[in-house]
Each structure stands twice: as structure tokens, then as C-alpha cells.
């Protein structure tokens, strides 16, 4: 894995957004070749989304040839409920950028046949050529998406009942009332995310520190499902200092020492504008990268 440690939340958000930007631009998506992006919800990725919107508004990062697949959605919550993940994605991302609605995919928590909806989602990912980069977060109980402790590490998209930890953590979005929090959700499986060509996990805040420790310094364990990514060939964990509070000093020092190398992934920062200038100059490349 690559463990990227930034000082504060805002820097971690920016690093993550720059990484996503560079990955998309360098992939050079087009009408025959879409960039498939897996996306999370919650408070952690908000800063990252804001930066991505900024890059779009500056003309550096269009989303015209990007397809998105969200990780999860509550079951039984009306799609236009302010706390549904559809509302989250609309208000915090989709409405600010140029993505075409046909290229966005979010599980329908009100489908008549929930498992069929989940199976169809897996098919859509397959049809899109698989996920190029899956961005996710981590719950305080170490879960990825809604793969609660005890979830199979080779699971696929399915219905899950939320653990108490998760319900407690989400109560703040429902006026603090536990009874108002949905108890079930549709979620991509651990196996689904593992199939992605690259995974990026955003982890910020001291309250996530123990989960991060369990996920990367202890063994692969279905009680801390993010730990499954220890067996993925390309995983990036992007954190702020507070999230590293439960890690060994040795681990933190090692990865901080690698920041010079890792920062080359975001610097230079590419833009579609340069790509367009390159195309118009139409010079032959002397060699391929």
C-alpha cells in the first residue's frame, strides 16, 4: 500500500482530489474509453469533492467521459429524502459538474427486488469494463462501504443490516434520533471493491485512528473489512495526522519519509487544457511513456 499522510483534513482532501485528477487526465478518457470511478459518501470525502468541483469549474477536469458507481444507498429511504445518498451525490457533486446522468450509477434502495437490483449493479460495472479507481472511506468499526464487521471478504453487492456502531455514527444526520436511521442498506461487496484496478481510501480524524490501525497494522480480518485491501496490488490510503494517532511511530515515520516520492503522483498536476494544447500542436511523440 501507499500511506499518504498530510497534516490537516484540507490538505488530505486536496491530495486525494489531485490524485484523482491526474489519474483521469492521464487515462485520457474518450467516447470509446470511459474512466470508471467508484465513489463514497459521508463527511470525509466532502473536501475532496469540493476540490474536484473547483478543478471542473477552472476547466482543468471535465467529467464528460467519466462513469461513476457509488458504493451504497440506504434501503427504504425515499430517493429525494435529504439524507439519501442520491441527495448527497446531487448536492455535493453531480449538480456542480458536467457529468451526464446516464453515466452515474447509484443503487436503488427502493427497488422492488433488492437482490436483483444488486445483481444488476454488478452487471453494470462489468459492462463498463470494471472500476478503474474505487474511492472509499472507513467506518469507525473499520468497515468499507456498508460491509459491517463479519462481512465476507469476497462478498459481492447485496443487502446488509447496519451495525449499531454505524447507526450511532449516522444518527447525527437524522436529528440525532436513532429510530429515524435506516437499518438496512444496499452495498458493494468487499470483493466488488477488490476487483477495482486501484483503490483509494480516505481516512481523516482521530475517531478513525483505531480503525486505521486495525486495518493496516493488524491482520486481514473480516471484523475490520478494510483490512482486505492488504491483499490488493494497488491501494492508497490518504490520511491526516489525527488519523495516524494509533499507528506505530515506525510506520508513520517510514511513510512520511516516502512523501517525496509519493508527491510525484500529484506534482506535476495535469490539466485537460494542456492535453488540448498538445493535440492542437499535433507533434509526434518521440517515444511512448
Amino acid at each position: 500500500m501507499k500511506l499518504i499522510i498530510l497534516e490537516h483534513y484540507s490538505q488530505a482532501s486536496e491530495w486525494a482530489a489531485k490524485y484523482i485528477r491526474n489519474r483521469i487526465i492521464q487515462f485520457n478518457p474518450g467516447p470509446e474509453k470511459y474512466f470508471t470511478l467508484g465513489l463514497p459518501t459521508g463527511s470525509t470525502p466532502l473536501g475532496c469533492y469540493k476540490k474536484l468541483i473547483e478543478y471542473y469549474k477552472n476547466g482543468d477536469l471535465p467529467f464528460k467521459y467519466v462513469k461513476t458507481f457509488n458504493m451504497d444507498e440506504y434501503v427504504g429511504l425515499p430517493r429525494d429524502h435529504p439524507e439519501s445518498y442520491h441527495s448527497f451525490m446531487w448536492n455535493n457533486f453531480f449538480k456542480h459538474i458536467d457529468i451526464h446522468p446516464e453515466n452515474t450509477h447509484i443503487l436503488d434502495g427502493n427497488a422492488v427486488d433488492l437482490q436483483a437490483e444488486c445483481d444488476a449493479f454488478e452487471e453494470k460495472i462489468k459492462a463498463a469494463g470494471g472500476i478503474e479507481l474505487f474511492v472509499g472511506g472507513i467506518g469507525p468499526d473499520g468497515h468499507i462501504a456498508f460491509n459491517e464487521p463479519g462481512s465476507s471478504l469476497v462478498s459481492r453487492t447485496r443487502v446488509k443490516t447496519l451495525a449499531m456502531d454505524t447507526i450511532l455514527a449516522n444518527a447525527r444526520f437524522f436529528d440525532g434520533e436513532l429510530t429515524k436511521v435506516p437499518t438496512m442498506a444496499l452495498t458493494v461487496g468487499v470483493g466488488t471493491v477488490m476487483d477495482a484496478r486501484e483503490v483509494m481510501i480516505l481516512i481523516t480524524g482521530a475517531h478513525k485512528a483505531f480503525a486505521l490501525y486495525k486495518a493496516i497494522e493488524e491482520g486481514v480480518n473480516h471484523m475490520w473489512t478494510v483490512s482486505a485491501f492488504q491483499q490488493h496490488p494497488r491501494t492508497v490510503f490518504v490520511c491526516d495526522e489525527d488519523a495516524t494517532l494509533e499507528l506505530k511511530v515506525k510506520t508513520v515515520k517510514y511513510f512520511k519519509g516516502l512523501m517525496l516520492v509519493h508527491n510525484k503522483l500529484v506534482d506535476p498536476l495535469y490539466s485537460i487544457k494542456e492535453k488540448e494544447t498538445e493535440k492542437s500542436q499535433s507533434s509526434k511523440k518521440p517515444y511512448s511513456d
Binding site: R79, D80, S87, W90, K95, H100, P101, E102, I106
Partner: protein, 386 residues
């Protein structure tokens, strides 16, 4: 009246780079319009999976619901209370000219007149949707003749009336059929007024108290009978007195039906009411404030003699004044509140999803830059034209 057929296939317009008045606040949001109505873009995105057909950049300006004027006696040389041969074209001219002031709906107002005038004029001014031709007519406002002699103001004494024994029949005999009537201003202290107020209210006509010497008790009783509006607060009524606040006291009365909001018109030109008095009313009851022009035929014309119904009036300069409250409050007083008064708040006076797309584009000084009715541009300031 706005076509539902083909609405789903109609063009989707997205107004970007603007601040819209929604929920009493100015929000940095885009305004989406389709089929003459405000559209919910989230629904369009997730259900229909469509994007906008056209985007219009508003240059950072304010988008507010179109203004609704419920008291306007004429303008640009047209006097609604004159039984001329071309009443329709007179109304049409005013309807077109007020677009530049951001007014998208209005209630042509008739001052105290003899029955012949009502019989001739009222049937010729039907309710009409707005459009490129002009602002929509929501119905007539008949101010008088059932008002107080003492507080008649500019209304001609000779044509004042009171209710006789057949109260409501007297009213019908005076006005003729009430199909086109939306608001009636009367003085509640007149005998049999309660019967009349109840009849009018039962027919969906808004009853307003004005040109009256009623005390607070009489005014409250009138509200219980159905009155919901006060015509130009402070003017043509007893002044506020601390032992009997009169009609003005309705703003803070605790003797009104539960949940009922009393609305009050204010002419905020700095002359009809001292700005300090306006602010007292606004602070006492901000949700009820309705801005009206009470414009006369001389609106838009120069100084000189003009008619107002059966009278002649001198015009000597015009002043405009800002109430000193928040921008959002002022905008709501000119749009949402008059819509609420007339029970139209689902479709007018608001930029909520599903409402008619009648709105104005304003600069930060609240000057009208463009006016839209049913999502169509019906007026634009010279500087804004490309």
C-alpha cells in the same frame, strides 16, 4: 392554462451563476425551468436522466419571484376607473409597461365610482395569464364605494355608498357580476358589513379593510367574518392610539382566528408613510407586509394634471424608498406575501419547484434587469441586451 401536454418533452432551461430567493434566503443555486414552470433538477437528473437543453448565465445577479401588485389604479395615462371605449387596450398597455418594473401579475384597481362605471368596466377586465404581451391580471381590486365618508381620501364623496337592508344585493347592484373581482376594500363599521364580508369571502373574494374609522374591536370582528387584508396601512384610517390602536392594531391583535395571518398593504414611497412608521409595522408583523404601488394613471408620465377616477390630481415629482429591511424580506413583501394573500402561493410569488416560472433578474441595487413570465423573457433592460 399552462399546457401540460408535451411538457415532459419541452426544452429545459438552466439559469446559472445567480442567487435565487428560496425559503426566505438568497441561495447560490441554479434555477431550472421547463414548460413554463420551475423544475426540480434533481428529479430530472435521477428520474429522467436528462441535462439542460440551454444554459443562461445570469452574471451573478439575483433571481426573485416576479412582483405582484394588488393595488394599482392605472398608469401611463390609463385610468382603470374611466369607462372609456377601449378599456381592454388600456389594461393591456399598463400590463405591458409594468413588466419593466418587474411586475408579473397585478390586480387592476378601481376607485369609488358610480354603478354605471362598474357595469361597463368590470366585465371587460377578465382574469388573464401573463406573457410577452404583459403582466397577468389576477382579478380586479374594487376599492370603494362602501367606505367611510370621513376617510375617503381622494375618493369622490358623491359616489360613496353604504349597505342598505339588502346588504349583499346592494353590493351586487353596484358592482354587477363579481366574476372578475378578486379583492374588495370596504369599511367594516358600515351597517350590514359582516353579512357582506361573509358573502364575499364565501365566493373566494379577498375582503380588505380600508378607508375606515373602525376601532380595533370592529376590525377584529371583520377579520372573524373573513377579512384578510388591510388597504394601505396607516393611510385613510384612524391613527394608532395606545388605548385603541384601530385597524393598525390588527398587526399584533391576539383576538384573531388561530393560524390566520392578516396581510397589510404598504405604499413604500417614503411619502404615504414615514419610513419609521413603516419599520414599526414591519417589525411588529413582518410576514404580513405586502408592498403595493397604489399607482395612479400618472405613473410613468410627467408632472401636470391627470385623472384618478372621477377626480383630477396634480403630480409633482415621484419618490421611491427602500424599507430598510433585509433584501430577502423586501422581495418577499413584493411577491410571496401578495401571493399568500390571494391563496396563490403554490404557483405564484415563489421559485419553489412546480411554481409558474414568473421571475425577475435584479442587480444588487434591486434594479430590474430582465423579466420572465412562464419561463419566457418578456422584458430586458437596454444595457443587458446583446
Amino acid at each position: 392554462m399552462r399546457g401540460e401536454q408535451g411538457a415532459a418533452g419541452a426544452r429545459v432551461l438552466q439559469f446559472t451563476n445567480c442567487r435565487i430567493l428560496r425559503g426566505g434566503k438568497l441561495l447560490r443555486e441554479d434555477l431550472w425551468v421547463r414548460g413554463g414552470r420551475i423544475l426540480d433538477p434533481e428529479k430530472l437528473f435521477f428520474e429522467e436522466r436528462r441535462v439542460a437543453d440551454e444554459r443562461r448565465d445570469c452574471g451573478g445577479r439575483i433571481l426573485a419571484p416576479g412582483f405582484i401588485d394588488v393595488q394599482i389604479n392605472g398608469g401611463f395615462g390609463v385610468d382603470f376607473s374611466q369607462a372609456t371605449e377601449n378599456v381592454c387596450s388600456g389594461v393591456a398597455l399598463v400590463a405591458r409597461r409594468i413588466l419593466s418594473h418587474g411586475v408579473t401579475s397585478f390586480c387592476p384597481t378601481l376607485v369609488t365610482s358610480p354603478p354605471e362605471v362598474y357595469h361597463k368596466v368590470v366585465p371587460q377586465i377578465p382574469v388573464k395569464s401573463g406573457g410577452p404581451h404583459g403582466a397577468g391580471v389576477l382579478g380586479l381590486h374594487l376599492e370603494g364605494p362602501f367606505i367611510s365618508r370621513e376617510k375617503r381620501g381622494a375618493h369622490p364623496e358623491a359616489h360613496l355608498r353604504s349597505f342598505e337592508a339588502n346588504a349583499f344585493q346592494d353590493l351586487l347592484a353596484t358592482y354587477g357580476p363579481l366574476d372578475n373581482v378578486r379583492i374588495v376594500t370596504l369599511a367594516p363599521e358600515l351597517g350590514h358589513s359582516h353579512e357582506v364580508i361573509r358573502e364575499l369571502t364565501a365566493r373566494g373574494i379577498c375582503v380588505s379593510l380600508g378607508h375606515s374609522v373602525a376601532d380595533l374591536r370592529a376590525a377584529e370582528d371583520a377579520v372573524w367574518s373573513g377579512a384578510t387584508f388591510i388597504t394601505h396601512l396607516f393611510n385613510a384610517m384612524l391613527p394608532f392610539h395606545h388605548r385603541d390602536p384601530g385597524i393598525v392594531g390588527l398587526l399584533t391583535s391576539d383576538r384573531l382566528p388561530a393560524g390566520r395571518c392578516i396581510f397589510y398593504g404598504m405604499i413604500a414611497d417614503g411619502t404615504h408613510t414615514n419610513p419609521a412608521a413603516l419599520r414599526i409595522a414591519h417589525r411588529a408583523h413582518p410576514q404580513g407586509l405586502v408592498l403595493v404601488t397604489d399607482a395612479i394613471p400618472a405613473l410613468g408620465l410627467g408632472n401636470g394634471r391627470h385623472t384618478l377616477g372621477q377626480q383630477e390630481v396634480e403630480v409633482d415629482g415621484l419618490t421611491a424608498y427602500v424599507a430598510g429591511c433585509s433584501v430577502e424580506s423586501a422581495l418577499e413583501a413584493a411577491s410571496l406575501h401578495p401571493a399568500q394573500l390571494l391563496g396563490l402561493e403554490k404557483s405564484k410569488g415563489t421559485l419553489d419547484f412546480g411554481a409558474d416560472a414568473d421571475f425577475v433578474v435584479l442587480d444588487d441595487s434591486l434594479h430590474v434587469q430582465a423579466t420572465y413570465i412562464s419561463g419566457e423573457l418578456v422584458w430586458q433592460a437596454e444595457a443587458a441586451r446583446q
